[in-house]
């Protein structure tokens, strides 16, 4: 068994033993959709204020970005900070396997986790609230992949430098809460002022919601959204690789 397979296998077991991580990583996006669908009156009805879409339809891509942000900005920096704090990265440096293999294993596991959460949210939307399957599946996949890369790169940069799990969590939260705002988690983007929406379109979470919403509705996402996501992925990814502290 190669090292990365062994590491990914062990890390997925460790993930499944962490109830909070399982809840926020796997269940949270679908649960948010359920809550919105059940709590708000008329959440499944088309709404003129929301451009003719239902509230659940608006929140479906938002919940997916919420899942991405939770894994990328909470789980990933906390995990990497913990590995550094416990000396696991240093320990790996003394073996024939470079500690970057463990980082890669974390990324693989967490990408699988958040993708399962995404599939769960799509299925709940379809089965419970009449949200259609994404109408441009190809563009949806592109948007999702770029969104995941962008947010995970931001989280990776935090995880690259924080000395402990607690500091990873703290720094992650500092970005998490505003990024949720710009994703339209607290109030939908559609009812935000134009200026806030412009700022939102330059954040990784806001750009991801825009790209996912467009492809869900069968449109081609704006090139600017995809470029913003790609830029975040490239810049933060390279910064993370450059800044990564292995001990």
């Amino acid at each position: 068994m190669t090292a990365i397979v062994a590491l990914a296998r062990t890390q997925s077991k460790v993930f499944l033993r962490e109830p909070l991580a399982v809840f926020f990583g796997l269940v949270f996006p679908a649960l948010i959709l359920v809550v919105i669908g059940l709590v708000f009156p008329g959440a499944t009805e088309p709404n003129a204020d929301l451009g003719g879409r239902s509230l659940v339809e608006i929140y479906a891509p938002v919940s997916i970005v919420l899942g991405l942000a939770t894994v990328a900005l909470s789980l990933l920096p906390t995990t990497l900070g913990g590995d550094r704090e416990k000396g696991i990265l240093r320990r790996l440096s003394t073996t024939p396997v470079h500690p970057r293999t463990l980082v890669a294993a974390h990324l693989v596991v967490q990408l699988v986790v958040v993708s399962l959460a995404t599939v769960a949210a799509i299925l709940i939307g379809m089965l419970a609230f009449g949200v259609p399957f994404p109408e441009s599946p190809g563009w949806f996949l592109v948007s999702y992949t770029l969104g995941a890369v962008a947010l995970l790169s931001v989280g990776l940069l935090i995880g690259a430098v924080v000395p402990t799990a607690a500091s990873g969590q703290a720094v992650g939260m500092l970005l998490y809460l505003p990024l949720l705002f710009f994703a339209g988690v607290y109030i939908p983007l559609q009812v935000m002022p134009e200026s806030v929406r412009t700022v939102s379109s330059y954040t990784p979470s806001g750009a991801a919601v825009q790209a996912l919403s467009a492809s869900w509705a069968g449109e081609v996402p704006q090139t600017s959204s995809l470029l913003v996501l790609a830029a975040y992925g490239l810049v933060f990814g390279l910064l993370a690789i450059w800044a990564f502290r292995w001990d």
Binding site: T2, K13, G87
Partner: protein, 307 residues
């Protein structure tokens, strides 16, 4: 050929020289202890050997390879147990060791290794639920699973209770007996005295002595001391007349006799001739700690560490 060769190793951080022109070699099959107070540069030395630190100057060879250049060669032959290294709370013992086993070409059988380290019944226990001694043994298992020809054990027993410490000592001796060369880093004099075939005494980044524990103690030529009390009357001159005795002092009821290694026998014979039986008698052993004080003028273990 020595297993590890360190020649003129020097390393500074922020203008502070942590390791200063250190040279020694570790021979195959021995337990080589690196002993010194905290902050003496022990960890920096072994981390340089393990290829985790880049020396400012000097040459290091492990099995003839440069740890910074031939990384794979060194890492596949050298097992390292780092100071203060832990694992994730929710990972199970077997999972940790099996994961590390997958990094090596011919790893040891994990179940057998855990059994040998007394962790057989803990294989499915989460790391956070182990005692300190058990966690330390997991760390040793990880250092050994790749079938290394040499291992570095850094502060193996720090933080362990006396029982767990003695068990760990047994493990180290078993390792050596199975042919693995052991580099043992410690600030416990007793540990080095008990385990080391040879030891390097380090102070303020410098190698101050390199010898067997016995040789080191003998080399400083400290006198033996015999203390005893008795209700019978003894004249100091009886004792000072003995050629093996170099001095006699009294503190309260206690008579303290200093002399060479034959002094004890001479004094006991003298007492027997006078039909005097001591009420209480003690011989002060010269220890590595005494040797360290004699060489550096300072205590090896601070009062804080002993408590």
């Amino acid at each position: 050929m020595p297993v590890i060769e360190v020649d003129g190793l020097t390393k500074s951080y922020d203008d502070k020289t942590v390791v200063d022109d250190m040279s020694f070699s570790v021979e195959e099959g021995e337990i080589f202890a690196i002993l010194g107070p905290n902050g003496a540069g022990k960890t920096t030395t072994v981390e340089s050997i393990a290829g985790l630190r880049t020396p400012d100057s000097g040459r290091i060879e492990v099995f003839g390879f440069d740890p910074l250049v031939d990384r794979a060669e060194v890492r596949s032959r050298l097992g390292v147990q780092l100071q203060e290294s832990r694992f994730q709370d929710r990972v199970k013992v077997r999972e940790v060791v099996e994961t590390f086993a997958s990094f090596y070409r011919e790893p040891l059988d994990v179940a057998t290794l855990l059994e040998r380290l007394g962790l057989g019944d803990k294989a499915d226990t989460r790391y956070s639920r182990l005692s300190g001694g058990q966690q330390q043994r997991v760390s040793i298992a990880v250092a050994l699973v790749g079938r290394p020809q040499a291992v570095i054990l850094d502060e193996l027993t720090t933080g362990l209770d006396p029982q767990a410490r003695r068990e760990s000592w047994g493990l180290v001796e078993e390792l050596r007996d199975s042919g693995v060369t052991v580099v043992l880093v410690t600030h416990f004099m007793e540990e080095a005295e008990r385990l080391a075939d040879r030891l390097a005494l380090i102070d303020e980044g410098r190698l101050v002595a390199l010898d067997t524990p016995r040789g080191l103690v003998d080399s400083i030529g400290l006198e033996q001391r015999l203390r005893f009390t008795t209700t019978a009357t003894i004249e100091d001159t009886w004792l000072t007349a003995l050629s093996d005795v170099s001095g006699v002092t009294r503190s309260g009821d206690e008579i303290v006799v200093a002399g060479n290694e034959r002094m004890l026998f001479s004094v006991v014979s003298l007492l027997a001739d006078h039909e005097i039986a001591p009420d209480w008698l003690q011989v002060d052993q010269t220890t590595l700690d005494d040797a360290f004080v004699a060489i550096t003028g300072r205590q090896l273990e601070s009062a804080e560490e002993i408590s």
